[in-house]
Point group: C2
Chain length 214, copies 2
């Protein structure tokens, strides 16, 4: 509806929307999902409660949209760093799968190490563990679409003969993406570029000895 | 102290300890870590609050010991299933790394699929995400000792020339253990023996094509 109003009203809606996202992300990091309320988000954002209810049905829905927006911003920032005009919506295909995966995984490490993402993402992940409905939305709308980018890139590599044809791409990608997610969630080890480089190398080449290429 | 009392008293202490563990695990699954109290554990276990405080300083400490005990029981059960007399405190070394890892990962899948472990383990993991102190204890006392069993087995395989000497065993093991943990936590895919078999195969042999063995 708002999108069809006059330009001034559209800009005002866009400002409110952004204020609501910022408030939701800040609050969930501060008080946790359990104590987060629509009232508190409205107060922090400086909007009326009804403004939030007009666009979203629950605090979980607000938070998920706030995350999707945050992920999109991160993607835009990554594009700008890489000197590209377009948003990163796929994994680059330079023809060198190892280099492309290392590039994307290094960027993901940088994101996980950024406090702006850490607190809210951690709060949502924790709530998703206990609340199956929110967890399913989190997986469907946020996690799975990101993983599908890897599926696509592995398929391209299979077409190019660089990955064995009988490999299941949906399982293969977990060999590099899940260890990083797990280390971050559990704080069970350092998150560095050297670490994700090794994950990619082991997954592509295996840890058992390979005969020297002839 | 209790251990040095007369046999009757020892048996009584052991019964109380087990009742406290059972109560803590049941309650954390039912009400979550946040609402768990020493009072509620005592009431459910049918012991006095002071009995709990004599042995533990906090609810986190009780819960962690309850988990360690649960993990040990699982290990004893696995030994009995395998027809062995001793508790499983290491990964078997049959000389065939792939078979040994598949065996252990299949047993782990069965554990994750058992509701007895699911609710309490999930509650503790979720709390560990948000509470760095509890998370660190969880990693140090429960997670890391289990992962070190894989480190030891990968080192044995390196000594036998079955894993490349420059591979870091602490990182390598994450290629099969983290995807399973992540799928279980996020409920992002089915947990089957076929799935963990593939994780082990990809990690050992890599997903890029290997020349046929000559």
């Amino acid at each position: 509806m708002a999108q069809k109003s006059a330009p001034d009203s559209t800009r005002r809606s866009e400002r409110s929307r952004r204020a609501i996202y910022d408030a939701a992300l800040a609050l969930v990091g501060e008080v946790g999902y359990g104590k987060l309320t629509i009232e508190a988000i409205a107060a922090r954002a400086g909007v009326g409660k009804q403004t939030i209810y007009r666009w979203w049905s629950s605090k979980g829905a607000v938070l998920l949209d706030a995350f999707l927006d945050l992920a999109e911003q991160a993607s835009v920032a990554a594009s700008e760093n890489a000197g590209r005009d377009e948003t990163v919506t796929e994994i680059p295909d330079s023809g060198d799968l190892e280099a492309d995966l290392k590039y994307v995984m290094r960027a993901t490490v940088d994101e996980f190490n950024d406090p702006k993402y850490d607190a809210p993402y951690r709060a949502l992940a924790a709530e998703g563990l206990l609340n199956p409905e929110l967890g399913a939305e989190f997986v469907e709308k946020l996690l799975e679409p990101q993983l599908q980018l890897f599926v696509k890139r592995v398929r391209q590599a299979q077409d190019a003969g660089q990955v064995a044809p009988d490999v299941d791409p949906r399982i293969a990608l977990e060999l590099w993406s899940s260890p990083l997610a797990q280390r971050w969630l559990m704080r069970s080890g350092p998150l560095t570029h050297a670490y994700t480089d090794k994950l990619v190398e082991y997954a592509l080449h295996g840890i058992t000895p390979r005969p020297a290429a002839s």
